[in-house]
Amino acid sequence: MDVVELSRIQFASTTLFHFLFVPLSIGLVFIIAIMETLYVVKKDDKYKKMAKFWGHLFLINFAVGVVTGILQEFQFGMNWSEYSRFVGDVFGAPLAIEALLAFFMESTFLGLWIFGWDRLPKWLHALCIWLVSLGTIFSAFFILSANSFMQHPVGAVLQNGRLEMNDFLAILTNGQLWVEFPHTLFGSFATGALFITGISAIALLRKKHVAFYKGSFKIAIIVGLISGIGIALSGHEQALYLVETQPMKMAASEGLWEDSADPAPWTVIANIDTEAGENTGELKIPYLLSFLSYGDFHGSVEGMNTLQERYENMYGPGDYIPPVKTTFWSFRIMSALGGAIAALTIWGAYLYARKKLITSKWYLRMMIVAISFPFIGSSAGWIMTEIGRQPWVVFGYMQTEDAVSAGVSAGQVLFSLLTFSALYLILFAVMITLFVREIKKGPEHDIEQSDSIGDPFTKEGQHAFS
């Protein structure tokens, strides 16, 4: 394998791994902030218990998210130095602002939150967790503004052999950003929500701490319900925008080789033959692709062969068709899971309102499985977004094979790929173990062990500090 392939595998694996933790952090901290606000407003200790219990899980997850995130910022320079030179003038700014605005905010106020339970007035302590939540949202916004630039470059001009920023506001108002950001944000809230409902479901099935987990479930299912609807609506907006700006990705995600009929049917499944450039065994729903692409039941959608011809005229000879099967199937996995999330949260809210939640065993069992849905869904969504953009790294300006580091050898990349993968696997195993431990300890554990009572200092009395 050459440097390009190895670097791509490395970027895909480290980024997908990092993005398991990011949405969970964004979602969990938002819900924890709601819980702590309820504690401050209602002065009910139940909510404090919630914030602390889910807070423990959040912190384990956040730590892994942070350390795997450091690597993200380094690897553009390490593995993609030519990309960094070419777009740094535009792409570096959002990253720097993300660090300055979001990372400092997250880390400082999280430190204050973890260690400040007894130090800060209640309202100020709650404000700290809201600022952490705001920090995670800022972080998402700025990193997505950088990603949106790769999908749909705006606010920059090609000069001095590179892309140079000439309109910062255009970068922040990029249409791509404003469909990608809400979609990612709702997806993240849903990740946190389904994590809480799923773990609550385990406890509710075993009839443990029923009041606690029912309360947690209620808050989470409301967030989940809103997010589920948000995911669907923002996803639809994103598809409309995709047809306009990256029609090739849309065509590939539909496995559409030739221009479609008008109105266009949507292909549910197909057997794609990329060699011959045709599909067999297609199952189609009439009108649906027109609706997905234009928000109305008319209109033909351009196929990959038409677009290939147009891009050859625009950008010169080359293969402009992305890996079709991957784009096609990742889109379907994402959409199916998104739909399932929306349906499950609506159903759960209904059951809760009808006070049938505890007795609906099958629903609760399903919610345990559904913990995985947002994780798989987001990963599939990112695979579609990034693979569907190939061969471009910055659409229309730079191809992935030209972006890789010039002075780095395949051996170096292979070494870091293998060691980071090993390290990540260990981290993942440890994290899951700790999650299980914390969940088994349950919400009451925290009260027994709280602060001074369970602290070894008091037990061992004088010790070194007498």
Binding site: A63, M78, A93, L95, R119, E164, A406, V408, F465
Partner: protein, 338 residues
């Protein structure tokens, strides 16, 4: 009048200086805790002393690298790809260390804790050691070709001089961390930290003199910026003597200020020595990256300047506030999270 390129060079330098000043002591606490603390409880006290801060301290590095990327894309690209394995090792260290703080206290089993203690130790040594080696190689000059691409062999990065730089920086962090310990720990632990810091005084003095001596011969820093650096060198000697005085007199706050100043002077000198270059080519002066050739365009720098100036006061403000909130020593009434 300062050009935007120069301003951003200074800002990147300030961010790195801030990083080594702040994360310097928590690297030091991570290393020293291993040797000064005698049992699990004392280890916990060490880790908790930096508990609320280390993560935000690390963000200084993230911001420094981010600012480098935004303001000097060619510097960022050449340095991170050129020192590929160095950065990989730094990442191993930072990743291991970051989760170790969080994971260590989550289970009581002695083996579990022992494993994470090792991770904290190694994860706290690797970053300052590697950064020290890298920055020393940077002022010594590395083979950079006419396309700004670095082709370093092993000896360009690892040689007696660079390793001395790495060891010096690491030992300074240990010393700085011990003095931080005198500020946030209590009683016998505090005493032990103070004694260890005092014992390190002659060792670090030898390291510093050896390093500065080699720098005089191995780099062109004194030839290019002689006056400025000689002046800083004098200040450094006075500060170092003062630090010894304050440690002996148990004026811990002042001692901490002095150990911090030593680190600040050292890192600042590296950046002053580099200027106006950001990476020195050992092949030809013409191939060196400078604040002009490595930088972003004016528009980009201007936008970044406005945004940073608007945000920095808040960032500094709440970070200082967090240190104020946790100004008390770690004792048995303290909430020990880790």
């Amino acid at each position: 009048m300062l050009s935007l390129n120069e301003l951003w060079f200074i800002l990147v330098a300030v961010l790195f200086v801030g990083f080594f000043f702040l994360e310097g002591f928590d690297f030091g606490v991570g290393i020293a805790g291993r040797f000064v603390a005698k049992d699990d409880l004392e280890r916990r006290a060490f880790i908790n002393s930096i508990g609320p801060f280390w993560d935000a301290n690390e963000v200084w590095l993230i911001t420094a690298i981010g600012a480098m990327f935004a303001a000097f894309p060619n510097w960022y690209a050449s340095m991170l790809s050129g020192f590929y394995l160095c950065f990989a090792f730094i990442l191993f260290g930072l990743i291991g260390r970051g989760v170790a703080f969080e994971f260590r206290g989550k289970a009581e089993h002695p083996t579990w804790r022992k494993v994470w203690d090792w991770v904290i130790l190694i994860g706290s040594i690797i970053p300052p050691l590697t950064f020290g080696i890298m920055f020393t190689a940077l002022i010594q000059g590395v083979p950079i070709d006419e396309n700004m691409i670095m082709h370093a062999g092993v000896t360009d990065v690892i040689n007696v001089y660079t390793v001395l730089g790495g060891v010096t920086l690491t030992m300074l962090c240990v010393w700085h961390g011990l003095i931080f310990g005198t500020l946030r720990l209590m009683d016998t632990l505090r005493e032990r930290c103070r004694r260890a810091a005092k014992n390190l005084l002659p060792i670090n003095a030898v390291l510093l003199i050896a390093f500065l001596g080699m720098t005089f011969f191995k780099t062109d820093m004194f030839a290019v910026h002689g006056n400025m650096l000689e002046y800083l060198f004098m200040v450094g000697i006075l500060v170092y003597i003062a630090s010894g005085y304050f440690i002996t007199r148990k004026r811990d706050g002042w001692a901490f200020l002095m150990s911090g100043l030593i680190i600040i002077l050292l890192i600042a000198s590296v950046f002053i020595g580099l200027f106006p270059r950001v990476m020195i080519s050992s092949i030809s002066d013409a191939y060196s990256l400078t604040v002009q050739t490595a930088s972003s365009g004016d528009y980009s720098l201007k936008i970044m300047t406005y945004l940073s100036l608007a945000l920095l006061p808040f960032v500094l403000g709440y970070q200082i506030w967090s240190y104020y909130v946790f100004r008390k020593r770690v004792d048995h009434k303290e909430h020990m999270e880790y």
